[in-house]
């Protein structure tokens, strides 16, 4: 990109770039360039840049920054793609799906302006070089960019040199869409993690808890807009994770705040959990069921297409309901009330039993209880236990993980790292078991619902039976792995180690 004087005339510029050759000017027309990336900058973190250009000549996507492919990959498209599945070419999907996973592509930055294209022609009228001139609104800048035409790089280099040297222009280090206005673009990794650093072990528990809860609320707040727009299922997911972490802290570290003050917030959190839970289920079904169906043979997958369409419909309806509920005054009012509670300094002379205790001792006590609960529930499980027992254990494991994440820095014991490693493996098995079980039941429910409406034929029902049986055998396999993973967790002996901490 070259930054030109604002008053540069197109004909004058063309004459300067290659006087002996004819130039054609097309435009100006309105045009837009969007920098597409996920909300957590997955592409930028890998050095990739995906640009969407909408010009009079049509829309196209350009992927650059791949070390193995120095030339950008350009593909025409009809609209901004939202998810990996919407990318218009197999080559783009192959390159990006592993990076994007389920995340949505969002326009992280846009440049709008008027675009003029200059074309250098040879004697046969063939275009040899294309130069784009972007005039940004309100006289901000006039930017020139030489486009790559395969096989005509030498001419493009010559024009680029002259553009820099003779047009009085100023070569920019980089394309301003991506880096020219760095202040507008949050730095990569700006999305905060759940762990809060700098928590002092000797701080009062009520102070530390407020800091942690305010941190969680901040992250949840970042996700509210995306959750309302339903652009990316991960906004809702992260919001719910924040909600679970909040509830885990309040329940597992009791005696810190006055129960009467917390009671309305407990009710709010239950409400939020229930209204987001159904939507999250619908999101997961829409994300996961296509992969289950895709693993079937082509005939069976075709037969189950109505089921997948039904799942997508349900997801849309669920998000619509959530939008209404979160758009109502209740959410805004209570969300602000929670912020006010967290912003208010705790009373210095609090009479709550744990409020003034050092956070480290409160955390150790909470962790010991949570660890022994996991051990107790896990010991009770055998191969005949109902799925509910696994589910309860999974919830207890999550709570233990949330407490470790919250207090690991101020407890500072190596056993916690070992415990997290083991706990992750145990949670994987429990998660897989429960997801498969729940998905099996959900598939059967959906099939029954669709059959009542006459939307599934015999072939689809047969395919569904096979799919459900397959999920059942995978769930049984996960159940078999449980015993060894649980043994691994118990070997860490977290409960005993914490007794001496």
């Amino acid at each position: 990109m070259v930054c030109l004087p604002l008053d540069v005339a197109v004909t004058h510029l063309a004459g300067q770039l290659w006087p002996s050759r004819p130039w054609e000017a097309h435009g100006p027309t309105r045009a837009r360039r969007d920098w597409l990336d996920t909300f957590d900058w997955r592409l930028l973190r890998r050095g990739l840049r995906l640009e969407y250009q909408d010009t009079a000549a049509g829309a196209r996507l350009q992927l650059s920054g791949e070390p193995a492919n120095p030339a950008p990959l350009e593909v025409r498209c009809t609209a901004t793609p939202r998810f990996c599945d919407n990318l218009p070419s197999a080559a783009l999907r192959r390159r990006l799906c592993g990076v994007l996973e389920v995340r949505a592509l969002l326009a992280r930055r846009s440049l709008q302006g008027r675009l003029t294209e200059l074309r250098l022609l040879d004697t046969s009228g063939k275009i040899r070089v294309r130069v784009e001139l972007w005039r940004l609104p309100r006289g901000k800048a006039c930017l020139a960019r030489v486009l790559r035409l395969r096989g005509f790089d030498k001419d493009a280099r010559r024009v680029r040199r002259r553009l820099n040297a003779r047009a009085g222009g100023r070569a920019l280090d980089a394309d301003p869409l991506f880096e020219g206005h760095a202040s507008l673009v949050p730095p990569p990794g700006a999305y905060p993690g759940w762990k809060l650093s700098g928590l002092c072990p000797h701080a009062r528990t009520d102070d530390a808890m407020r800091q942690l809860l305010a941190h969680y609320r901040g992250i949840m707040d970042l996700n509210v807009a995306g959750m309302l727009e339903a652009t990316d299922s991960e906004f809702l997911h992260d919001f719910r994770v924040g909600l679970r972490r909040t509830r885990a802290l309040l329940r597992r570290v009791p005696g810190v705040f006055a129960e009467a003050r917390l009671r309305p917030f407990h009710a709010d959190q239950r409400w939020l959990s229930s209204i987001t839970g159904a939507v999250r289920d619908a999101d997961v079904h829409a994300l996961v069921f296509p992969s289950y169906v895709g693993a079937l043979d082509e005939r069976e997958a075709r037969a189950l297409a109505p089921l997948l369409a039904h799942v997508q419909r349900q997801r849309g309806e669920a998000h619509e309901r959530l939008r209404e509920q979160l758009g109502a005054a209740r959410f805004a009012r209570r969300w602000q009330a929670w912020a006010r509670f967290l912003d208010t300094p705790p009373p210095r002379g609090s009479r709550q039993p744990q409020a003034r205790a050092p956070v480290r001792s409160s955390a150790v006590r909470a962790l010991r209880k949570a660890a022994s609960r996991v051990s107790r529930e896990g010991r009770r499980i055998d191969s005949r236990s109902p799925p509910e027992a696994y589910h309860e254990l999974r919830k207890s494991c999550k709570n233990l993980r949330y407490l470790i994440d919250a207090f690991q820095e101020c407890i500072d014991l190596p056993v916690l790292d070992r415990c997290v490693r083991r706990l992750k493996k145990l949670q994987e098995v429990l998660g897989e078991h429960q997801d498969l079980d729940v998905h099996r039941a959900a598939l059967l429910n959906l099939a029954a619902e669709l059959s009542r409406q006459g939307g599934l034929d015999a072939q689809a029902r047969a395919a569904l039976e096979r799919l459900v049986a397959e999920l059942g055998s995978r769930s049984a396999a996960a159940r078999q792995r449980f015993a060894s993973e649980f043994r691994g967790f118990r070997e860490v002996r977290l409960h005993k180690t914490l007794a001496g901490a």
Binding site: G58, R60, V75, R76, A91, I127, F152
Partner: protein
């Protein structure tokens, strides 16, 4: 990446016109298309205003498959690139014969750009030779334009017999009537007798049109300057049928 060869044993049947127009139609729908002008006459290159010249000639392309990427030129039409013709392609048979596994050579050459394009169209020279055998192995679909005449049908049957005996397993053949002149009785009768009776005969008939000949004057695909011309519209229908044959919609959805 799908590879379609516009091929016929006979000359002057509309192979180049077909290749150029289908390539343009595919590119205008957003596909990344490479047209390889294999005919030493270089008519497709001329129509796209690109010099029929490759550095090092056919020898360089065949010996160093990596050279193909450097020889490709962007056309004036977005998404459509050309691997130009070169007069040295007239020695293609001899040069292929010097290579190891000559029948697989053209496929290997195209392997260097497999990731860059969604569709490759080969504009083949007439005749049947070692070069034809090699492109049969490079292509997934042979698209054969036919003049509506008994001699053309006879040549098609020769080709079908040859492919049945010696053709590669994955190759499909689809043919269509081209340059059909509605004023000629022979053309009308041949089309009436044949259409719908051959499994691999596409329904589209490309009419004879003087606008098609103007491609060499305008040096652009017909559909780009005369989209309402009956021949241009016939090429659109032909492209739709070719897509069906390729099953490309399903492949793209995957």
């Amino acid at each position: 990446m799908s590879v379609v060869a516009s091929y016929s044993i006979k000359g002057g049947v509309g192979k180049t016109t077909t290749a150029v127009n289908l390539a343009w139609l595919a590119a205008s729908q957003g596909r990344r298309v490479l047209l390889w002008d294999l005919d030493p006459q270089g008519a497709a290159s001329y129509c796209l205003r690109i010099d029929a010249r490759v550095k090092g000639g056919a020898k360089a392309l065949l010996r160093h498959p990596g050279a193909v990427a450097g020889a490709i030129r962007a056309s004036d039409h977005e998404g459509l690139d050309l691997l130009p013709a070169d007069f040295s392609y007239r020695h293609m048979d001899t040069l292929l014969d010097e290579q190891q596994r000559p029948k697989k050579r053209l496929r290997k050459v195209l392997g260097g750009v497999v990731d860059d394009y969604d569709l490759v169209l080969l504009d083949c020279p007439p005749g049947i030779s070692l070069a034809s055998e090699s492109l049969f192995r490079a292509a997934g679909l042979l698209l054969v334009p036919l003049l509506p005449s008994p001699l053309a049908m006879r040549t098609l049957e020769q080709l079908e017999r040859h492919l049945a005996r010696k053709g590669p397993a994955g190759l499909s053949l689809a043919c269509f009537f081209s340059m059909a002149d509605s004023r000629r009785r022979l053309h009308k009768e041949t089309i009436a007798v044949t259409l719908g009776r051959r499994r691999n005969l596409l329904r589209t008939v490309i009419p004879y049109a003087s606008d098609v000949e103007l491609m060499s004057v305008r040096r652009a695909p017909l559909a780009s300057y005369a989209p309402r011309n009956p021949a241009a519209q016939a090429y659109q229908r032909l492209w739709a049928e070719v897509q069906e044959t390729l099953g490309e919609e399903r492949a793209l959805a995957n």
